[in-house]
Symmetry: C2
Subunit: 216 residues, 2 copies
């Protein structure tokens, strides 16, 4: 059985999104800064069907590793979007990523609203799970086989799996900015969760990649 | 003129002390875990007049660097303790460190209560400043000459200098634990403060040392 893991960009003050997210600024004020280091990377651009970009060590290796050996994704309802937020629409919502999303794998979306699976181009199928995170993980594990299951986001879903003792490892990309408010990655996590640091590498971009595993 | 800087151990969820600090547990629940990596280091023990200990790379180098080139300290009133908390006493409070404190330099304590300077053994003199952090820094800079001024703690004092644009650099020792609550190092810092990461080194102990400078 593979691992359950996630990786996420976080500000030095611990936020994965800035304050006051809006439709035209979904990552909140200043939140875009968390992802600037990644947009120019060849490895990330390829995975998203974009040309160009550069290889920057160690960022490129970290991104490539984060994309390797994944067999399925689990995703929260806010990450998928539509239907329950200010994004209501008459068209059936297909997620933020157009008709060829960058996942290319089965994606299990946690939601309160039953819906038929949505098969898009390039191998991405969104399956909507209303029976909670453990059921979503079980289905994702079946789909993934021996490969890993990755939590695509958001932070609250990652915390649920962490709290439930189901998470195996995670990697933080610590970006040298303060957001001053917004969504905290580790809001209210349990002090009883034991961690082990397994890696820490710094990039010339100033981003530091910190990898941890949970001790069970 | 030297730099104004600090270094501090912080949990992965961003706390420098755990919840519910008490007289017999001043760092709050679980807070001691933040400092375990340091107590066994030869360099730290020597600075505190203790024998024994080991040299662990890179922790020892980081500690030695943090102690080098300091000419004076600035300290908050809670860090000094006594007089305003549950620690009231009939004896004049001399700080937590006995009659030979580990500073061996002038220490400027921010307080609301005027008091004569307190000269202790080994070169430590506590001078009490009631005119605010800028005045404390000015006096500390004079005492330090060409050397650096270090903020001895606590977090709220470090944040005041950070917010005021007076801090030059800081180093975080990120310890692989969650505290789940307590005193947040970067509570409410200003998103407008620009940072540059200047170092990131991982120790076999699992502590990662992250150094930043403020861009002015």
């Amino acid at each position: 059985m593979g691992k359950l893991k996630f990786d996420i960009s976080v500000s030095l003050d611990g936020f994965v999104a800035g304050p006051n997210p809006r439709l035209d600024e979904p990552l909140g004020e200043g939140g875009e800064q968390l992802h600037e280091w990644i947009f120019g990377l060849k490895e990330w651009r390829e995975a998203h069907g974009l040309e160009g970009g550069e290889t920057v060590s160690p960022d490129s290796e970290v991104i490539a590793e984060g994309l390797a050996n994944i067999g399925a994704y689990v995703m929260g309802r806010n990450m998928f979007g539509g239907g329950e937020g200010p994004w209501d629409t008459d068209e059936p919502w297909q997620g933020w990523w157009g008709d060829d999303p960058p996942f290319h794998l089965p994606v299990f979306v946690l939601t309160h609203h039953p819906r038929e699976p949505l098969e898009l181009k390039g191998g991405t199928t969104f399956t909507f799970i209303t029976d909670g995170p453990e059921e979503a993980l079980e289905q994702a594990r079946k789909a993934a086989g021996d490969h890993d299951v990755k939590i695509a986001g958001g932070a609250e879903v990652a915390r649920r799996y962490l709290r439930a003792g189901l998470l195996d490892e995670f990697e933080l990309h610590v970006v040298p900015v303060f957001l001053g408010g917004g969504t905290r990655l580790f809001e209210g996590v349990d002090a009883g969760i034991e961690l082990e640091n397994t890696r820490g590498v710094r990039s010339p971009t100033g981003v530091v990649h910190l990898r941890y595993r949970t001790v069970k």
